[in-house]
């Protein structure tokens, strides 16, 4: 399975240049960590990978498909089938419980959802609505939801923020286990130390952006 190949990605919001000439190659089954301080463009980069926004310039191949040449409908279909995404600020439907936010939204079987939630230490929070969950708990629900979509590419924005070390370890293990099934995982972090789980690191501290092993 082909991974992700980006070359010369450029993105600006008005006069603000967020990404300039970013290139990265990730093979399937690999884990990429995008590291950098707040505001350096990590989230924008991840949104481009998740096809939530498109770059102003550069070439993008995901799973061997040139997504830059796709029309809107093709992009939507590709994203729907191939890419799972979890947000930096966890986004849950406020009227569904933690369990329903995963089961209803993803359509996964009940026992699998329960199993994953227990692994993510959410076993006693299943029937709680988002207003009764801590930020960290919401974050885990968001990541669990993305994991259960079982897509070829999983993009998760700062998955370890607001998590205690023990839970961070559990989450990272799940992401690595996911990648071990031949899937491509991309995550971001402000902490360089959190890049230790990744096969590759895209360091956005050094500009122009480049990748290091």
């Amino acid at each position: 399975m082909d991974g992700i190949n980006l070359k010369g990605i450029f993105k600006a919001y008005g006069a603000i240049r967020v990404l300039e000439d970013v290139s990265v190659d990730i093979d399937s089954g690999e884990v990429l960590c995008v590291v950098g301080p707040s505001g350096c463009g990590k989230s924008t980069f991840l949104k481009i990978l998740a096809l939530i926004t498109m770059p102003d310039a550069g070439s993008m191949k995901i799973g061997g498909t040139d997504v830059a040449s796709m029309n809107q409908k093709e992009l939507e279909n590709f994203r729907r089938k191939k890419i799972a995404y979890s947000f930096q600020e966890p986004l849950l439907l406020p009227y569904l419980s933690a369990f329903e936010n995963i089961a209803c939204v993803v359509g996964a079987p009940r026992d699998i959802v329960v199993d994953v939630m227990k692994q993510f230490r959410l076993g006693n929070r299943m029937n709680h609505t988002p207003t009764k969950l801590s930020v960290g708990e919401k974050k885990r629900v968001d990541i669990a939801r993305a994991l259960l979509r079982n897509t070829d590419f999983l993009i998760t924005d700062e998955p370890l923020s607001n998590l205690d070390p023990g839970t961070s370890e559990v989450v990272m293990m799940k992401l690595m286990e996911y990648a071990s099934r031949g899937k491509t995982v991309v995550y971001s972090s402000v902490e360089p130390a959190e890049a230790r789980y990744a096969d590759k690191v895209l360091n956005m501290l050094t500009s122009p952006h480049g990748q290091s092993p």
């Binding site: 926004t53 994203r79 729907r80 986004l91 439907l93 329903e100 939204v105 993803v106 979509r149």
Partner: protein, 408 residues
């Protein structure tokens, strides 16, 4: 593919867990539907009441002797033969012919005179309502705004002063005191009838059943077996003028003349046609306003948290699935609203009944629970969720996913 079950569960949760918003939506939906159902029903009821009145009253024409029925020439009225009635029945556009028997009712007043008590007889030309040779009950009920009970009679309102003094409106009366000498009996005045061309030859109306009980079958039949005048029922109010012309042409040679209230007929037709358009416009505007209000509120509800659509899109939902989800959610609300508004309309409409005073009569206007308006309400309840969700679907296409998610 998101299953219908999942869409239903998620929608039901949204309705239940966002109770404040859901209640507000249901209230606005219900008000919109009530506006769309009740206001047209009022206009429809008014038109129906007027049409019913016109069809009940103005479609009747009296055929009577041109000379009237002046006493003592009551027999002079009795020249309408069976063959003549058959001739009238054969005229085009005539639905029915009612020969009406006329007889004399005497109300007896006891007067002290020179140390003794004498009887004073007050004569009234009387007819019966119902039975053979009687007035049609629906016509009497409409003209007199009252159903005659089993103990009395109705009187022409213009003759009320000719009644002798009475306690509790109870009178001693007799039918055909002369020459048959029938026994007097007691009866009460139950009400009065406004003056009408249809009651030209009538002073007093009896309930046929009551008189049969009091007089006995044989006496009753002998008293009311004549044809004092004929009441002609025309099939449609628009054909009355034509029938009257035909009747006048063909019956003049027999000394008979058709009697009808031309001025009021024309006034009523004019009123009906003048009311039809404004009430249709008001009804249509009410339905349109109700529908637009529903669409507006539904649309606001779908775009107030646009990021929800964005979130679902990032989680693999297609825009069609999001459209279905919004539709199911709105359908739940609109179906609940439809049920509430229908029940509310059933309860409220009877309280909106009113009386319209017209041509000396009182027409009861009852806003009708017309099935058409409920059908329109039901169609709105189903169509509006689809329309609003579709608008939201179209509007979502104008925003990028990134923009949509930033509305969080």
């Amino acid at each position: 593919m998101v299953s219908l079950g999942v869409l239903f569960v998620a929608s039901a949760r949204k309705v239940y867990r966002e109770r404040g918003w859901s209640t507000g939506m249901i209230v606005v939906f219900s008000i919109s539907l009530v506006i769309g159902m009740v206001i047209p029903s009022i206009g429809y009821g008014l038109q129906l009441g007027l049409q019913s009145y016109m069809n009940t009253v103005f479609t009747y024409v009296v055929v009577a002797n041109a000379g009237g029925c002046n006493e003592p020439g009551l027999d002079y009225c009795l020249n309408i033969t069976t063959s003549l009635i058959n001739n009238i029945s054969s005229i085009r556009d005539i639905q029915n012919v009612y020969p009406v028997a006329v007889n004399q009712t005497d109300i007896i007043q006891l007067i002290a005179f020179n140390g003794s008590t004498v009887k004073d007889y007050h004569d009234f030309d009387s007819v019966v309502m119902g039975g053979p040779n009687g007035l049609p009950p629906d016509m009497v009920t409409t003209l007199c705004s009252k159903i005659i009970g089993n103990s009395g009679f109705l009187l022409d309102s213009a003759l009320i002063n000719q009644l002798p003094p009475s306690n509790n409106s109870l009178y001693t009366v007799c039918i055909n005191c002369y020459p048959t000498g029938m026994q007097p009996f007691n009866a009460s005045l139950e009400g009065t009838c406004a003056e009408s061309s249809l009651l030209t030859n009538v002073d007093l109306i009896w309930n046929a059943t009551f008189l049969q009980n009091v007089l006995g079958g044989e006496s009753y039949r002998s008293s009311f077996d004549n044809s004092g005048f004929v009441l002609v029922k025309v099939d449609n109010v628009r054909n009355v003028e034509g029938v009257v012309k035909t009747l006048a042409g063909s019956l003049g040679q027999f000394g008979l003349t058709p009697i009808y209230d031309q001025a009021n007929l024309l006034n009523a037709q004019s009123l009906e046609s003048n009311l039809a358009l404004p009430y249709t416009i008001i009804g249509g505007a009410a339905i349109a306003a109700g529908g637009l209000l529903m669409i507006l509120v539904s649309y606001i509800s779908t775009v107030r948290r646009r990021w929800e659509s964005g979130l679902l899109e990032t989680q693999g939902w297609s825009r069609k699935e999001i459209f279905r989800f919004q539709t199911v959610y709105l359908l739940l609300l609109s179906c609940a609203s439809f049920t509430i508004s229908m029940a509310f309309s059933f309860v409220v409409l009877p309280f909106l009944s009113t009386n319209l005073a017209i041509y000396g009569q009182i027409i009861a206007i009852k806003p009708s629970t017309n099935d058409l308006f409920y059908l329109i309400g039901l169609i709105f309840s189903v169509a509006v969720p689809f329309a609003s969700s579709f608008l939201s679907y179209l509007s979502a296409g104008k925003h990028s996913l990134d923009q949509t998610l930033r509305e969080n």
